[in-house]
Symmetry: C3
Subunit: 264 residues, 3 copies
């Protein structure tokens, strides 16, 4: 058993579930590949919102350390793990134009922080805990992953997590601007669902275009990832107004003027 | 009546007032052009601080949707609206080297968020409300505008506003780092004025140079806006020390050493 | 007496002390050069964590204004001061791969804000005060310095400090995300030491690699600083996985699997 990443659909919503029983959903290589496959499929789907969650009361406690001796101690295989498996999964999540809500219960550590950092909305339970104490494991966070986390948490929090191996609680992560909402533990799933339903009732093409624009703020000017990982460079401004004559745009504006509720 | 943007001077201060009666100062095309004209003129003026405010208890509730059927449903005219009218106004505000205080009362939505995001200091009343729920209108925020807002609010807040159509209150926007101060509704104008007076008593060329330096942090690496919109590329470091022999610099340092109050 | 920057070692820890008696440790030119020398040496040392602190209950109250008439009123010498002396010191601090904890007591103003902004972890006493009211002195913050501060404080706080000459207290700087922790004044040194000890017990090469990755997020795309100031451009991804076969990496992962405490 090396864990799994599965996708379920309920109408316009998709639920991506990280599952690795007995390991607080620690990400195995197979799970990173599963994460990539899940989000490549979702990007091509008609889903209007995705909820990412963990099974059994944890979000994700990190990487599956039991696999590490197989590949970590040789540079080429280590690079392949981070640049292809891990970044392949995270990049597919980042490149997904469908809005993504993170439903965060319990441990959100290491790989869990990376996955949560790539989501749009983050809703956590009051007892959730956040960190990336891999300095205890003797290795750094890979550069792309460290920047993803730092851009989501702010540089100060990332430095506390990586240099002090600090573990932060949910109220502090709310104050640091990483979390959208902190709710009672028993309400996390319901609140994540409510957020997803709100999003799904809104204009789907508009959401996709907003995600495309916002994604560009934080693009580091780096060598490209291995072939096939990451979206093609496109001219964001050139395509930005092609929606003009679209049905969704016309419906929204017209409904407002006619003082009725739009149907997207 | 399509609303107006007017400028008044009181000594070293300028007051730019958004006015669109009955529409909570929603921005019409004429108002975006007026905003641009106002800030192009202020940049060339001897004003030492600008207060941007709305008439009648609201800052700005968004765009003037009644105009949208005239131009939104055709790509070229939609592009011209966003890239020339809207971005022309916002870019003139961003390019203004004179410090700008946003006096935010009531609704600060959509276009209002964009205008507030381009100001330096943001002072809001306790009952002010913030958002950009245009996903209800079936269209995305234009890319330059979305990045402006996200850089001012943080990516998380921008995603809540654009993807969830969330409306956030003033205390939350203070906690998110968007607002400088939240004061009682009745005190917003007085507190914005006090901030402007403090700024106006300080060295004006220093303020301009500080704004030039800070502006560069967030310059996206994008295709240039239409001709005439946006400052020329200049070498910030090359010009950074030309103030050395200036009267303002000499007065400030000399006054400190002589233990007297400087007069700028 | 023009002040001093001295370094003391205690096992894996280094303590860099800013001292300018009677001037709340205001930075003289000699001190900026001393800061650079200290961090160039620390980068080449086996120190695992550095604490930066001020002598006598203040962190650093700014620049040594008594020196300013000697060089500030001529462009070439002013440029040389900021680009070589000040940026030389700050850049050496930023380029130091060893984690740096700022122990902030009392005044943290101007040059003090710049030095604190270049540290990784910031721990302040409840009565510490923060600002950069140089607009009272009639001059702007130099561009590289302004961007350093703004990236650490957020743009809003930097604009308040530079345009309003605002002075902010420690609880507000905690809320703004600049400070890691605010503690009782009497506990600042003990808490900074505790942070440094935690960091020093963790994997030192991992810390260095994490700092290299995080540093790149905020590199402005600017003309290079004068020769000798600032690290050489390197390909971060190319070197990111060379640690694979290293002892530290193997020890950390192996210790975890063997359920024992790693020794780095």
């Amino acid at each position: 058993m090396t864990g799994s990443v599965s996708t379920a659909r309920e109408g316009p919503l998709a639920f991506v579930t990280l599952a690795h029983p007995g390991k607080l959903n620690a990400m195995s290589r197979a799970m990173w590949r599963g994460l990539r496959a899940a989000f490549v499929a979702l990007q091509a789907s008609d889903a209007r919102c995705v909820v990412v969650r963990g099974e059994g009361g944890a979000f994700c406690a990190g990487g599956d350390i039991s696999e590490y001796p197989d590949f970590r101690f040789e540079e080429a295989s280590l690079r392949d793990f981070h640049e292809t498996d891990v970044w392949g999964g995270l990049r597919a999540l980042l490149d997904c134009d469908v809005p993504v809500v993170a439903q965060i219960e319990g441990a959100c550590m290491g790989a869990g922080m990376e996955i949560a950092s790539a989501c749009d909305i983050r809703i956590a339970g009051a007892s959730a805990r956040f960190g990336a104490p891999i300095a205890r494991l003797g290795f750094p966070m890979a550069p792309r992953e460290a920047q993803l986390v730092a851009q989501a948490t702010g540089a100060l929090t990332a430095r506390e997590m990586l240099l002090e191996a600090a573990v932060l609680d949910a109220p502090l992560m709310l104050a640091r601007g990483f979390l959208s909402r902190v709710v009672q533990d028993a309400d996390v799933a319901a609140q994540a669902l409510a957020s997803a339903q709100r999003i799904a009732a809104l204009a789907p093409q508009a959401a996709r275009a907003n995600k495309q624009a916002l994604r560009r703020i934080h693009e580091p000017n780096w060598p490209p990832a291995p072939a096939g990982i990451g979206e093609a460079a496109t001219d964001l401004i050139a395509g930005a107004y092609r929606y003009a004559a679209g049905a969704e745009h016309r419906e929204g504006v017209t409904a407002f003027i006619e003082k009725r509720k739009p149907v997207f």
